[in-house]
């Protein structure tokens, strides 16, 4: 098992390098570079020289040299300094990453608690009104973008009931309830959008598993349908569902970025968005690197879960 994990981690290095090149280059390819923005904000008439700023920010060197410097530093855990705030990117990340992680984790819990029971229910009641209702609901969730739902939740309750979701962030360890109250709405919205696909997958897989020969064997033993579902079918059905959840990890993070913006959650998403607008290169690259690593770690966890669910992988 250890060797398996180490092998997986090593395999991740080329992917990360590749990602970093793309991120590094693409943020610099967006029209309007950071020096222009700075010049526009500071009064140009003060006569600050473009070359001076570039040199101060280290942007005067050729781009490949900048890249190698960045990689060399990143390997030591130094993601550079924000071009605007002059604070270490790593320090900012240490604050924002746990917040986004919490949001993602809560959303995942919401998604699974909604998707798996309903998916199973839908499969057991195949082609009944209950099945149609839950399937239509999941289609709806699939079709509605979460930012739109988020906007609705912001606008309509306040018009109808004079209630608006809380937008005041408090750290979890200071005020757990206040923190959860704030995170709940974006987590539910994100979780619901994630649950749509998972629900459909659970239903499809459950129906597929229920057609298998070993389920017929279980029926021939005289087991009650509930035991057949939970002891004989569920684990087989979850193996592909877990893969799907791994594949959705980028979606989860992408959704978090947008919902953080709407619900003013000071996580990585908000940090990233501001950095992109300001062309704060080190911040953007830093965030993306962390996102990349997280996605790879999530997939590693998916593989480990496999080992737990599927004895063929374990041995």
């Amino acid at each position: 098992m250890q060797a398996f994990i180490i092998r997986r981690l090593l395999a991740v290095i080329p992917t990360l390098l590749f990602t970093s090149v793309i991120v590094f280059a693409s943020i610099r390819l967006i029209p309007g570079d950071v020096v222009d923005l700075m010049l526009a904000q500071n009064d140009i008439s003060t006569g600050t020289d473009r070359a001076v700023i570039e040199a101060a920010l280290g942007l005067d060197k050729p781009i490949y040299e900048q890249y190698f410097i960045w990689v060399a530093n990143a390997l030591q855990g130094d993601f550079g300094y924000s071009l605007w705030q002059n604070t270490p990117v790593a320090e900012q990340l240490a604050v924002t990453l746990p917040i986004t992680f919490e949001l993602g984790f809560l959303a995942l819990i919401v998604a699974l608690t909604v998707a798996i029971p309903i998916g199973i229910y839908s499969a057991m009641k195949q082609d009944t009104p209950g099945d149609y209702i839950t399937r239509s609901f999941s289609l709806l969730m699939l079709a509605i973008p979460s930012f739109w739902l988020g906007t609705l939740v912001m606008v309509f309750p306040s018009v109808w009931w004079r209630w608006a979701p809380p937008l005041q962030y408090t750290p979890f360890f200071e005020d757990p309830l206040g923190n959860l109250a704030h995170m709940l709405v974006p987590a539910v919205l994100l979780g619901l959008s994630l649950s749509a696909v998972t629900m459909r997958m659970t239903r499809t897989m459950m129906l597929e598993v229920l057609r298998q020969d070993y389920i017929r064997t279980a029926r021939a033993k005289g087991l009650h349908e509930n035991l057949i579902i939970f002891r004989h079918a569920l684990r087989n059905c979850l193996i592909p569902v877990v893969t799907l959840i791994g594949l959705q990890a980028p979606l989860l993070i992408g959704g978090a970025v947008i919902l953080e913006q709407i619900f003013v959650v000071p996580g990585m998403g908000l940090m990233l968005l501001e950095a992109v607008f300001q062309r704060d290169y080190p911040v953007v690259t830093g965030v993306f690197l962390i996102v990349g690593v997280s996605i790879l770690l999530i997939n590693l966890m998916v593989d480990l879960t496999y080992g737990f669910l599927d004895p063929k992988v374990r041995h």
Binding site: D213, A220, R231, D310, P311, H315
Partner: protein, 322 residues
């Protein structure tokens, strides 16, 4: 003595996308306690459907449209689902054709063999596991107790079929139904598995329904034989009688197509001409008539019924001169 199992005039219909298919049309069988009944016939003749209908395992698309299945004084077509569950795995156990896919890949062998004991005999899991270990020993799995913790993929096909047999024997059922239990296995292990099955059912004094394509198997293991064709039983008799004195042209054809050990190695085997019938489009009259060398006019007009031609020997045929 009344038979342990008596199927009378059983008809089963499936609803498919292309309309209704009548898979069984008036099947009648009977089996006494301790006997082995072989059910033979070509692919699609309704052997599996007959077996599955006994335990009510036809699935959502299939249903019994007529007839009765008397088992130990109860009509299984009439009892509640709850009662059926009490019988399944407990009084009637099933061994399926595909040992590779009939065991659950994510549960240990121990769990799967112990499960019927836990369920029907209301034993604790640890007691049930202990019994499961003994069962695996009885089906001659080496290191039986150690292997309880293993998963199906760690067993070969033959070993898995032994596991299936152990599972079937778990609650000492009165009847074991084995649907082509060796078709998917190597020729070399087929005989071992069949002898094991036969010996263990005899020891347990259980009855056995053995579904097979292979009339050679029938001769060695069965007391009684039912020959099926196109969703009907066309001939039934004690095995020795059937071999000596086949009364239906289809049975004769099957017999002639068995390779004989003492036969001339150069001689070609007899095969029955033509295709197995299409159930959704059966020929009128006797459904064997397009392939029957003895077909007469009335064979295309009326269906022959299963009638006694000798004591304990029935056939569905108008008769012919040989």
């Amino acid at each position: 003595m009344s038979p342990l199992l008596a199927i009378s005039d059983l008809s089963v219909t499936f609803v498919t996308e292309r309309g209704q298919v009548q898979a069984l049309d008036g099947v009648s069988l009977s089996l006494n306690a301790g006997e082995t009944l072989a059910v033979v016939g070509e692919s699609g003749s309704g052997k599996s459907v007959t077996a599955l209908s006994i335990l009510g395992l036809l699935g959502d698309s299939g249903s019994v449209s007529n007839g009765s299945i008397e088992f130990d004084g109860e009509d299984l077509t009439k009892v509640s689902v709850q009662r059926l569950r009490e019988i399944r795995g407990n009084q009637i156990a099933f061994i399926f054709q595909e040992p590779m896919s009939s065991l659950n890949p994510v549960l240990t062998i121990g769990t799967q063999v112990a499960e019927p004991i836990w369920l029907h005999h209301k034993k604790s899991w640890s007691e049930a596991f202990e019994q499961a270990g003994e069962l695996l020993q009885r089906v001659a799995i080496p290191d039986a107790v150690k292997r309880l913790e293993d998963y199906p993929h760690q067993f070969s096909g033959g070993m898995r079929q032994r596991v299936m047999i152990a599972m079937a024997l778990a609650c000492q059922p009165k009847l074991i139904i084995a649907d082509e239990p060796t078709t998917a296995l190597d020729v070399t292990v087929q005989a071992q598995i069949l002898s094991l099955l036969k010996n263990l059912t005899k020891e347990a004094n259980s009855s056995l329904i053995l579904i097979t394509h292979d009339l050679g198997v029938v001769a060695r293991y069965a007391d009684k034989v039912a020959v099926m064709y196109g969703g009907r039983v066309v001939e039934t008799a004690y095995a020795t009688e059937l071999y000596k004195n086949p009364q239906h042209p289809y049975t004769e054809g099957l017999m002639a197509s068995i390779p004989k050990l003492d036969g001339d190695p150069g001689s070609t085997l007899y095969t029955i001409e033509g295709q197995p019938p299409d159930l959704s489009n059966l020929p009128s009259g006797c459904s064997f008539n397009p392939r029957c060398p003895h077909a007469q006019d009335k064979c295309t007009m009326t269906k022959p019924t299963l009638a006694e031609v000798a004591p304990n020997h029935k056939r569905a045929c108008f008769g012919y001169e040989r």
